[in-house]
């Protein structure tokens, strides 16, 4: 593996500091293999004043060592809820059931004490809103050192040197470790959060919409940074995003979530080239695609309607209310998961997917529904 894989818009010519950081990092990486994660029948219900809110329902997926799994869906689909539960950050009183085996170890329902040992050494988090994710009254370096020293009995000087390496890795000058969060731009804070997540070479990285709070140019910079790091370090990773284009560029596998359930999952290339679930087809329409030569530019089509109220989830398919192809059966009977090769989807009419795909590409298919609703 070479450092050329880290070539990104900002550091196409890697600085000596970066090279040095990568060299020492390689030694430590060798000591800690990428993790394997298997999530089985994960269900999560928040307790609210008006009863349980079933944010996540019967979700299963697997992250193979060194691969990157994309978790996509609109906001409010339970993607972030899954991530929070995996690192034990669900709010008090939340019911979590199912299994999540990290290298064979159950990580759901651990005590706070047991969680302390798992967090950051085995599984670490790149948070959603880096703007507010750093403690305003401590300097950046202290906050990175805090993570290192919580788990390894190393001197502060050693921890600081490690923080400098991590900073070099994300392309920030070591001198700015003495700065406070308010002195950083949004992009710099996001990179700080990434550096922090890498500090202990956890085998599993959770990235929870790492770029939503940033402007588009910064978004693409940060994403290529994450891609570069992923390619170089080969950690296992779950990337949560609502942008299906990001998944296409970054992730080997994709899980599409809708209203707390898995709509479709499989290898990214398959899922994007031949979506089986109408929701995936709709999501694809909602994001700009690179224009293909000779074909007309496609208009963006958003899916009309809103996610159903999960205080009282509908009995049938949760997407039925917004699906242009829904039949009566879809509203009554919840569809089972059907596999087609490596890909699988929860739709009654999986056989008619090719026909749906063709119709879904036409804007009027979705517009009709919008008018009817």
């Amino acid at each position: 593996m070479t450092s050329t894989s880290l070539a990104t818009p900002e550091n196409r010519t890697a600085s000596p500091a970066t090279m040095q950081a990568l060299a020492t990092l390689n030694d430590r990486l060798a000591a800690k293999p990428a993790a394997h994660l298997r999530v089985e029948k994960l269900s999560i219900a928040y307790s609210t004043a008006r009863g349980p809110f079933h944010a996540v329902d019967d979700v299963s997926f697997e992250v193979k060592p060194g691969t990157n799994l994309g978790l996509v869906g609109e906001s409010g689909c339970g993607k972030s809820t899954v991530i929070k539960a995996l690192i034990g950050l669900q709010p008090e009183g939340t019911k979590v059931s199912g299994q999540a085996l990290l290298d064979g170890q159950e990580i759901l329902g651990l005590s706070e004490r047991a969680l302390q040992d798992v967090r950051w050494t085995k599984i670490s988090l790149i948070t959603q809103s880096a703007m507010n994710s750093l403690d305003p009254v401590y300097c950046i370096g202290d906050q990175i050192c805090e993570a290192i020293q919580a788990h390894e009995s190393v001197s502060r000087a050693t921890a600081w040197a490690r923080a400098e390496e991590m900073f070099a890795l994300v392309g920030l000058p070591a001198s700015r470790l003495h700065d406070f969060p308010h002195q950083f731009s949004g992009g710099m804070r996001q990179r700080t959060v990434i550096a922090m997540a890498l500090a202990l070479n956890a085998g599993m990285l959770l990235a929870d919409e790492p770029t939503t709070a940033l402007d588009p140019i910064m978004q693409s910079q940060i994403m290529s940074r994450i891609r570069g790091i992923h390619e170089h370090m080969r950690r296992s990773m779950i990337l949560v995003t609502h942008d299906i284009a990001v998944v296409a560029e970054t992730c080997e596998n994709t899980v599409v979530m809708y209203a707390g359930k898995v709509a479709e999952k499989g290898p990214t290339t398959d899922v994007l080239a031949r979506p089986l679930h109408p929701y995936t087809m709709g999501l694809q329409n909602a994001f700009p695609r690179l224009p293909v030569k000779g074909q007309p530019r496609q208009a963006l089509i958003s899916i009309p309607g809103i996610v159903p109220n999960l205080l009282r989830p509908p009995p049938g398919c949760r997407f039925a209310g917004r699906c242009p192809f829904a039949t009566e059966r879809c509203h009554i009977e919840a569809p089972a998961v059907t596999a087609v090769g490596a890909q699988s989807a929860a739709c009654h009419y999986i056989d008619r997917a090719p026909e749906f795909r063709e119709a879904a590409a036409r804007p009027e298919t979705w517009r009709k529904l919008g008018a009817g609703a």
Binding site: L89, V118, T121
Partner: protein
């Protein structure tokens, strides 16, 4: 930074001037004759006028005011009607006595309140610890300070006899500063000090609790938790951020509480500035009363200034302009 401090100092001087002016007119315009207490002792008119002149009480109100300000500038508060000696001489030992119960009392009260407040703020929302903590703190906050004093006095002094309930004790051979380091002095100090702590703690506790509750749902706390540090360390992050609003409240309150210590000094007959203020007012010894009042006002202004500067030290986002 220096420019900022200078500007704040100038502001403080202005405020102190305003307070002194209010005070001056309060004492002079009110229909009370400062020489009344002396007249009872059979003072001749001549002697009376001489005294009035000596105290700067002759001439027009405006002349008196100018003379008074001039004296203040050189730190001259005049002399006591009653003790017949300069006010400074009367008050200096009393200031030290007041600081002896005020400073440790307020620091311990604030520290204890902040610690318990963090625990209550960190407890489960709506749980037993939170509810009991809030309830007790609110009720204790409602106990007037003289009632705290009376209760301590009755239980620990009269009934159990553990502590003396009156004054600072007999200095014996220890005069000057040496007296403050005798066991007897500390024995006398205990109850008034505890009274100040109980008096000052609940408000700190409630403020700290609000701050921790506000901060515990912030995103940065979530990331600290995710890092896998100990529970105590996570709570510390919330507490450290909650200290900022506490500091802005603490310093003005500190001076305000020094003012409230008046009552505690009376209950325990502790010879401090506050007790002297009350005595001077009832004996119509106005120079002493004025000076005591002035000292308390200066303390408040200085405390406000200190709050500003400490806040800047604790919050890296503050920039002094």
């Amino acid at each position: 930074m220096r420019a900022y401090i200078l500007r704040r100092l100038a502001q403080s001087v202005l405020v102190i001037w305003a307070v002194t002016t209010i005070m001056f007119f309060m004492f002079r315009v009110m229909p009370a004759d400062p020489t009344a207490i002396l007249l009872e002792r059979g003072l001749s008119d001549e002697a009376r006028n001489a005294l009035l002149e000596q105290w700067g009480l002759t001439g027009s109100l405006w002349d008196q005011y100018v003379a008074y300000l001039g004296n203040l500038l050189v730190g001259d508060f005049g002399s006591s009607f009653l003790y017949r000696k300069p006010v400074w001489e009367v008050l200096t030992p009393l200031i030290i006595n007041t600081l002896w119960i005020a400073v440790p009392g307020l620091l311990l009260g604030a520290a204890l309140g902040a610690a318990i407040g963090t625990a209550v703020g960190w407890a489960r929302r709506g749980g037993k610890l939170e509810r009991t903590g809030i309830f007790l703190a609110t009720v204790i906050r409602g106990v007037p300070n003289f009632v705290i004093g009376i209760a301590l006095l009755t239980v620990f002094s009269s009934t159990l006899g553990w502590f003396p309930g009156f004054g600072m004790g007999d200095p014996g051979q220890n005069v000057g500063f040496a007296r403050y380091f005798t066991l007897d002095f500390l024995h006398h100090l205990a109850l008034p000090l505890i009274a100040v702590i109980i008096y000052f703690m609940p408000e700190n506790l409630l403020l700290m609790r609000s701050g921790v509750v506000e901060n515990r749902t912030e995103d940065y706390i979530e990331l600290v938790r995710a890092k896998g540090v100990s529970q105590g360390r996570v709570a510390w992050h919330a507490a450290r951020n909650s200290m900022l609003p506490l500091i802005t409240w603490l310093f003005p309150a500190l001076a305000e509480t020094i003012a409230g210590i008046v009552v505690i000094e009376i209950v325990f007959s502790w010879p401090g500035v506050g007790r002297e203020l009350v005595l001077a007012v009832t004996r119509q010894d106005y120079p002493v009363a004025q000076a005591a009042f002035f000292l308390l006002a200066v303390m408040i202004v200085l405390a406000n200034l200190a709050a500003d500067l400490v806040y800047g030290k604790l919050d890296p986002r503050v920039v002094y302009k």
